[in-house]
């Protein structure tokens, strides 16, 4: 088989961080190669170098035998490389056809040949089994449809090598299956494919070969039929990191109860008639593929969204829509989904971030003036207790790594002794070590009697931590299921929206 792609000793540094360290990789014609590694291993950086978003510091790239000029996506596209980005590079306000045709015609052409473009797009759509409406506005499309547009963009530019970055992060199981079938079909038509993933089962099911990256280096390559998930897991992480195990214990009284709550986001219903109960000393896991209403649920439980209908009560008191300040005062601790956008103010130092939520409290302010010494001490305490590395209270918080920032956020929430904790994707983007630390803290809080609601897209995490589980699909919640009864088949059905008649939320 011919080698269509050869990455030779690619090295890339960002300041003190070496993101890729002399990585060498080959792709053969017609094969599907999986690039596997945990968060921060360097997979996306490597592919960004291939596609020209970055230029490597050392090393070269050869595509179909020709050297690829570095740092220019145009060169990569002309060489036949296409990329489906993890965060889609689409303009929501424009149509599918607009997004696909951009850049494909000479800029100085006097009239855009849209009819030809439309015909070509529809032909490709048919050939590869990716149905789209060329005139639809991208913002109105579902995530799966948008991904199809991203793929068609690459095919429209005659890509012979296709890179997909975490393509199933936003897809439900059936859609993910369908995607891999389409990819297989493409290889039958002569394309070669690399996909990035951190999901072992997908890699085992869909790829011909696997390359494992760890800490910026390629640590192993295997033919997929010759390896196993266990071997890959160990190669990915490099050591046996075991996540902490949940100990079953008796659960307390109901703390936070939602009854038939409906929440609108941007004028559309995002949560419909959802009901759940979280008890003291319990972790309730809400599992689902991204984009099924988790954002609205997170907003509701952070105090940012008001229920259009239904009730949200804390120990019997109505709290729906009271606002973040009231939620904090009521003892609800919130770990937000996006630590950079919502969790911290990057330019402020660690100590101000540690107390920003609680500036009104007497311990941190008197008569409108901030009690700076008390706040600094508090921050120093958090840094020590929660093992936040690379920080003093004065450090600008944006300098912390993702894992350390998350540990600080966790610390500031837990140190307030909350009655209820919202943990929204608490380990997104973290490496195994940080994930284990976060899980340990959540389980400790559970042992102390906090009522925890965990929203997670990682099944393994949700099942490992939760006492009970509910699936979120299209803004609705399934009936709760005890963790012991949540086998993969049952969970799969729940996440696909196949529910029995809802029992009373227990």
């Amino acid at each position: 088989m011919t080698t269509v792609l050869h990455l030779d000793s690619i090295t890339k540094r960002f300041g003190a961080l070496t993101a890729n360290d002399a990585v060498t990789l080959e792709l053969k014609e017609g094969e599907i190669l999986a690039l596997l590694g945990e968060n921060g291993a360097g997979k996306t950086t490597l592919m960004n170098i291939l596609f020209g978003h970055y230029a490597a510091d050392e090393g070269r790239v050869e595509v179909f035998g020709q050297d690829l000029p570095p740092g220019r996506p145009r060169a990569a596209i002309e060489a036949g490389v296409g990329m489906v980005h993890q965060h889609f590079t689409l303009a929501g306000n424009l149509s599918v056809l607009d997004n696909v045709m951009l850049g494909s015609e000479p800029l100085l052409r006097l009239r855009s040949r849209r009819d030809e473009g439309r015909a070509r797009l529809m032909a490709l759509s048919e050939q590869f089994g990716l149905p789209v409406d060329p005139d639809a506005r991208v913002a109105g499309l579902s995530v799966g449809e948008r991904q199809r547009v991203e793929i068609l963009k690459a095919l429209y530019r005659d890509a012979r090598i296709l890179i997909l970055d975490e393509p199933t992060a936003v897809l439900a199981r059936p859609e993910a299956q369908r995607l891999f079938e389409i990819l297989r079909g493409m290889t039958g038509q002569g394309l070669s494919i690399i996909f990035i993933s951190h999901k072992l089962n997908e890699v085992m099911a869909a790829s011909d070969r696997v390359a494992v990256l760890r800490g910026g280096r390629k640590v192993a390559e295997r033919k997929t039929p010759e390896t196993s998930p266990e071997e890959l897991a160990e190669l990915m992480v490099g050591r046996r990191v075991t996540r902490p195990r949940r100990q079953a214990h008796a659960v307390g009284a109901p703390r936070l109860v939602a009854e038939d709550v409906t929440v609108q986001l941007d004028g559309k219903p995002a949560l419909q008639d959802v009901s759940f109960t979280v008890h003291a000393g319990e972790i309730l896991g809400i599992v689902g593929v991204s984009g099924n209403g988790q954002a609205a649920l997170g907003a509701l439980l952070s105090g940012l969204a008001e229920p259009e209908a239904g009730h949200l009560t804390l120990e019997g008191r109505e709290i729906g829509g009271l606002g973040p300040r009231a939620f904090i005062a009521e003892g609800i601790g919130r770990i937000p989904e996006d630590r950079h956008a919502e969790g911290v103010v990057g330019e402020l130092p660690v100590w101000e971030n540690s107390v920003l939520e609680r500036l009104g409290a007497p311990e941190f302010s008197t008569r409108g003036f901030v009690r700076r010494a008390a706040a600094r001490d508090h921050a120093a305490g958090l840094i020590e207790r929660f093992d936040v590395r690379g920080a003093t209270p004065e450090t600008r918080i944006r300098l912390l790594s993702g894992g350390n920032m998350q540990k600080l956020i966790l610390g500031r929430v837990l140190s307030a002794g909350p009655k209820v904790i919202l943990a929204n994707q608490p380990t997104r983007g973290l490496d195994e070590g940080a994930i284990a630390a976060v899980h340990a803290e959540l389980l400790a809080a559970r042992a102390e009697g906090a009522a925890i609601i965990l929203i997670s897209e990682e099944l393994e995490e949700a099942v490992g931590l939760s006492d009970r589980l509910q699936a979120i699909v299209s803004g609705r919640l399934s009936a709760p299921v005890a963790a012991e009864e949540a086998d993969p088949r049952r969970l799969g059905l729940m996440m696909a929206g196949v529910w029995e008649a809802p029992e009373d939320a227990a």
Binding site: R72, P73, I77, E78, H85, N93, L94, L102, L107
Partner: protein, 313 residues
């Protein structure tokens, strides 16, 4: 009351509307082009002032009127280049940079004017664009004097509206510009350079703005004096929002605004006892009202004012 209404049937009012609208049309189109590509250009007030001065000065120093306009456009493009360099590759605050450009371009214009021109009792004058009486068409009653007896740059402005509407909607370049204002990463991912597109649009937009200023000194009036732009630049920024960033609607907005301005001027002669300042205030108040009315449904270009840092995803 009837006198106020009678004014509406006067052809000279409507002819004035087109004339007053011309600098606004250039200004709105210029601001629109910059913003469609994702850059807010608050330098408009200064760039229009600079265009007014440079256009007039070129003619005063011997160039013909069209060359004067060309030089004014060039000066505008240079100021635009400065704003673009500060805000695009350097990613500085578009608000502050724009304000700085306005202060700088105005100050520079006044300084150079004072340096080169000796001002006596009244500012020196040039021979401006005369209204072009288009044969046959300008004899049509009412419509003739209004539509077919305008100065040449006015027709240029109307042409510019059509050209910009076409380019944005129907050409690959227009698509690239629109996309740059919505998602510059998408532009990069398709092999184009959003930085260059933004810089080019800001330069071209600033050239248009400068033409708007130059119209004031080479057609509407025939001399240059400080503060002659009178906030028209800011009004154009408001009109861009009002026009939902579309050239056709921008033309309508400019005409509507010019109508109120022209009407208010004539109303002063007819209505007794109202201080003239209230009339003069009307255009600014109207702009604010217009902004409030459209604010809710404004479909802003998504990447407007977001600096584009390559590789930062």
């Amino acid at each position: 009351m009837t006198e106020a209404l009678d004014l509406l049937f006067n052809a000279s009012l409507w002819a004035a509307v087109l004339r007053i609208a011309t600098p606004l049309i250039f200004g709105v189109l210029g601001a629109l082009l910059c913003e469609r590509a994702g850059v807010l250009n608050l330098g408009i007030e200064g760039i229009m002032t600079m265009g007014a001065m440079v256009g007039w000065l070129s003619v005063f120093l011997g160039a013909d009127l069209w060359t004067g306009l060309l030089i004014a456009a060039g000066a505008g493009a240079l100021m635009g280049l400065l704003h673009a360099l500060l805000t695009v590759p350097l990613g500085l605050s578009q608000h502050v940079s724009g304000l700085g450009i306005t202060l700088f371009a105005s100050a520079l214009a006044y300084y150079l004017y004072r340096l080169i021109v000796t001002v006596g009792e009244s500012p020196p004058t040039i021979v401006p664009f005369r209204p072009l009486d288009i044969p046959v068409l300008s004899d049509i009653p009412f419509l003739g004097p209004v539509l077919f007896s305008q100065a040449a740059p006015t027709y240029l402005a109307l042409l510019a509206v059509a050209v910009m509407a076409y380019v944005l909607a129907r050409t690959p370049l227009g698509l690239a510009i629109r996309m740059t204002g919505e998602n510059p990463h998408a532009v990069e991912a398709q092999g184009l350079d959003p930085t260059l597109i933004r810089i080019g649009c800001v330069m071209a937009g600033s050239a248009l703005m400068a033409l708007g200023g130059a119209f004031l000194t080479t057609a509407a009036f025939n001399s240059f004096f400080p503060e002659m732009v009178q906030g028209r630049g800011w009004i154009c920024i408001a009109l861009v929002v009002f026009a939902s960033w579309r050239p056709g609607k921008a033309l309508l907005g400019a005409l509507l605004f010019a109508f109120f301005d022209a009407y208010q001027l004539r109303l002063q002669t007819v209505v007794e006892g109202v201080p003239y300042q209230l009339f003069l205030m009307a255009p600014y108040v109207l702009s604010i009202v217009a902004l409030i009315l459209v604010a809710r449904r404004a479909q802003v270009p998504e990447a407007l004012m977001t600096p584009y840092r390559k590789g930062e995803r």
